[in-house]
Amino acid sequence: MFPPTPICSGESPGLAAIALPEGHVHVWKAVLDVPAPVWLNLRQTLSAAELARADKIISDRHRRHFIAGRGWLRLLLGSYLQTAPARIRLAGAAHGKPCLVTANGAGSLRFNLSHAHGLAVYALARTAEIGIDLEYVRPDFPMDTIAGRCFAPAELEALRAAPLSRQTALFYRTWVRKEAYAKAVGLGLALPFRRFDVSGAPARPVKDDSAWPAGEPWHIVDLETGAEYAAALAVPGRGWRISYGSTAGFSPAFPTSSILT
């Protein structure tokens, strides 16, 4: 189980080393509304480019969340790489998936992140590309039209067959599974969403009729986030040991560990 110690103790974020063996995925949750001293510490880790990006965000609340989310990411990466968070270099790969460009073993650390409505989730693995998505559930979202455009036939059928009271939850569950997969393969919205099917997940692999990807089937893990959010993780193949953690000072809402066999 991990982490051995909190990565953030009180008002001073620290950098406890976290080991991440091959075959493991670590999933972290972070609350983005943090006390001002913590936020300032997180902010200090951001690059000039990230701060410039933050400056363009017009909502104060969103700007604060973006900064906290990036700060937690850097703190986490620093803990795994044993590198000062501010020295970590991040870049956007094709289709915007962020990745590491620093030395110190960064080549063998993959990550993905997502944030929504004051919450962020992060997934980290040694060598495998992974994807994670988090959405805040908005019952007034125009689900029918978006599902009609983006869902595979079996997904659409399952949504329409579900009782009305469960349709919102099922829509979001399906969406985050699809986006986690699209992010895992690094294509995001450029992947034709209608052409892959996650309705059998998590028991069955993603069924992808598009040209991408060859190789072993991808699997989805639904993440427990409470009714206000939906979240999912996509991993290549099976046999992953998945552990869950929460930035310190906040109660973990995830189960601690599970094995995807």
Partner: protein, 75 residues
């Protein structure tokens, strides 16, 4: 056309006068689900079909970019 796009976007950018070439993804708010709403909006409002190949965020990055896409798909 631009005013219709601007009016639709104003629901996401309250209290902000959106410029024609302003990057809406840089302003916050817009995530992938909202991007799909934009796709849906331009299809229904302007009677075009956005193909999978057009699902590039750059086509929806600004009022100008959306207008260019609509013009291209209408021709």
């Amino acid at each position: 056309m631009k005013e219709k796009i601007r009016a639709f976007l104003s629901r996401f950018f309250k209290n902000h006068s959106l410029l024609d070439d302003e990057d809406i993804f840089a302003l916050g708010f817009v995530n992938s689900m909202l991007a799909m709403q934009l796709v849906q909006f331009v299809e229904s409002e302007f009677g075009i079909t956005v193909e999978d190949a057009d699902l590039d965020l750059d086509n929806f990055r600004s009022i100008n970019a959306m207008e260019a896409l609509i013009v291209r798909k209408s021709s």
